[in-house]
């Protein structure tokens, strides 16, 4: 399967990455090279094999549903590119 320019633009939209027009053709070629390389996986018989999602041998633990920290708004906001009071600030989304 080979990606065309429209597919590359659609993927970039899904990934929230702005592409300039010259990048589309470069990425199309690179992504198709990678997809061509992984195509060999189609030849493996995976009938009845359960997928392995993680590297751990045991299922991830769930912790107790309790509050373990808080009252650290300043630490959380310290790296914000823009803030207003104790809030992250973003461009207006509602007219």
């Amino acid at each position: 399967m080979s990606l065309d320019a429209a597919a590359v633009r659609r993927i970039a939209k899904l990934a929230h990455i702005r592409l300039e027009e010259p990048e589309v053709e470069t990425l199309r070629n690179e992504l198709n090279a990678i997809l061509g390389y992984v195509e060999q996986l189609a030849e493996v018989d995976v009938e009845g094999v359960a997928p392995l999602s993680g590297g751990a041998l045991v299922a991830p633990r769930a912790r107790d549903d309790v509050v373990t920290d808080g009252e650290i708004a300043e630490a959380i906001l310290a790296n914000a590119p823009a803030r207003e009071g104790q809030f992250f600030a973003v461009p207006k989304v509602v007219e």
Partner: protein, 494 residues
């Protein structure tokens, strides 16, 4: 011998005997960094004053009789570990202004053990690469040179700054992270020992995520024993990482000298890839002989799905990366590029902040997870990942460890292998299977190529059996007698 040339074990003895102070040891490394880092670019951020302050505290601990094996030992921290109050970039421009308000578990444990942090080591952007060429802060230059050549070589990646710093004697050891070979391949390229522990052995809390089911912190150092000392402080259960293994940390250092008499060591036929570099093949044969001479029994084994490891990795890792890197949107931390509206701001921020390799991987990951393609790519890759784990499980019913080369070649030049992404990806062909299976694996310095560059051998072990990996690593290290030094290093290569 200059103190910068000591191993961690030697420095620990010298500190305990009060032959050198931690401040002197740290000052020597600060000086080495000041002299060499402008050229090698192994560090993104250096923290010499903080290092001296930590060394002063270490000297007090030593004077008070409260010193451990890492007290006063100056090390480099890969700039993927969050360090409280010290900028942490993941070598990405999108995190250029990021100063973490908290400490990663691994670095916190190292600080508690008395280690001194010299600075934050360069890497491939978000740990995505095998050369350090993708760093947003410029490539790292390897301290090694081909005989009779001045061509600049890559240190490997992604923990390339860590490896270059330790090889050039700017640090005694370093933290790295390994997702598909990012500790082992740079260790091999720079003539070092590097250990990727079992998945779950070291906490991922505070380690900037690339591919969460594969990422694993580990040490790089100049000897196997030094790696064992570092891992002893880095490892351990952490409730803040849901995949952290709740099991005791063995005495890794004690395991190093166990010997390998009677161990069964597997040699997988599938790693004899077609057209294997002759030098690599010869080194592997030498390693097999060394293991046999040390009393191990060599057993031929089969890992039939080996060749699918790399294509599986290049679906699974980008898929997880596309999800993990969704958080960089210019809202809560990092760089922002303003736009016409919220979506435009996201898109411009990510276009400007991410480099080409990161964008490629996010795009591939987004595609293989998208509606209509998920089953054909991602789900199929996960099933083949299960088959790769099954291969290892079967093999480890017959053998105690597996011996392979670490990388298919010695280090290459900066600018080589850039023709297309897949050529670069092939660097990881021998390291990726152990990552997918979650088993521990280490690279040890085993010899030099005809051009005078280091070559590594890889030892793979059972889940949570780093001890056997260290024992085999030490036996091979002893037999190899690797003592070559890079062209560029503190004090000069005398």
């Amino acid at each position: 011998m200059s103190p910068t040339d000591w191993t961690i074990a030697e420095a620990g003895r010298a500190l305990a005997a009060r032959e050198v102070s931690a401040v002197e040891l740290t000052a020597a490394h600060n000086a080495a960094i000041a002299a060499l880092n402008p050229r090698l670019n192994a560090f993104i951020t250096v923290t010499p004053e903080q290092a001296i302050a930590q060394a002063e505290a270490a000297d007090q601990a030593i004077a008070g009789g409260a010193a451990g094996p890492l007290t006063g030992i100056p090390i480099a921290i890969k700039d993927l570990f969050c360090t409280a109050g010290v900028r942490t970039t993941a070598a990405s421009r999108i995190l250029e202004p990021f100063v973490p308000p908290y400490e990663s578990t691994v670095t916190g444990q190292l600080l508690a053990a008395g280690a001194v942090f010299l600075g934050k080591a360069n890497l491939d952007e978000f740990a995505m690469g095998s050369s350090n060429i993708t760093s947003g802060f410029g490539p790292v230059e390897s301290p090694w040179r081909r005989g009779g050549s001045d061509a600049k070589l890559v240190p490997g990646g992604s923990s390339g700054g860590s490896a270059a710093a330790v090889a050039a004697r700017m640090a005694m050891g370093a933290t790295g992270t390994d997702t598909g070979g990012s500790i082992r391949q740079p260790a091999a390229f720079c003539g070092l020992a590097g250990m990727k522990p079992t998945y779950g052995r070291c906490s991922r809390f505070g380690v900037i995520a690339f591919a969460s089911s594969l990422d694993q912190p580990g040490p790089l150092a100049r000897t196997v024993e030094d790696c064992a000392i570092l891992l002893g402080a880095m490892a351990g259960f952490d409730a803040r990482d849901s995949t952290s293994a709740d099991r005791p940390v063995p005495d890794f250092r004690a395991a190093v000298g166990r010997g390998i008499k009677g161990l069964r060591i597997g040699v997988p036929a599938e790693y004899f890839v077609a057209g294997m570099n002759e030098e690599i093949g010869a080194l592997w044969q030498a390693g097999i002989s060394w293991a046999r001479d040390a009393g191990a029994e060599i057993v031929e084994i089969a890992l039939p799905h080996t060749k699918y490891g790399l294509p599986v990795y290049y679906i699974v890792a980008p898929a997880e990366a596309s999800s993990n890197l969704a958080r960089y949107d210019g809202v809560r931390y990092g760089a922002r590029v303003e736009g016409e509206d919220l979506i435009d701001m996201y898109e411009r921020t990510r276009a400007a902040g991410f480099g080409a390799e990161v964008k490629r991987r996010i795009m591939i990951g987004t595609y293989v997870l998208s509606a209509g393609y998920y089953d054909a790519y991602y789900l199929r890759a996960q099933k083949i990942r299960a088959l790769i784990l099954r291969d290892f499980t079967k093999a480890f019913a017959k053998v105690d460890a597996i011996l392979t080369p670490t990388a298919p070649s010695a280090a290459f030049g900066i600018g080589e292998k850039m023709d297309d992404p897949v050529t670069m990806y092939l660097n990881d062909v021998f390291t990726v299977p152990a990552s997918l299976a979650g088993v521990p694996a280490m690279s040890i310095p085993a010899g030099l190529s005809a051009e005078g560059l280091p070559l590594g051998l890889q030892i793979i072990g059972r889940h949570f059996d780093e001890e056997t990996v260290f024992a085999v690593g030490r036996a091979l290290e002893r037999a190899a007698g690797f003592n070559a030094k890079p062209a560029v290093m503190a004090g000069g290569n005398a």
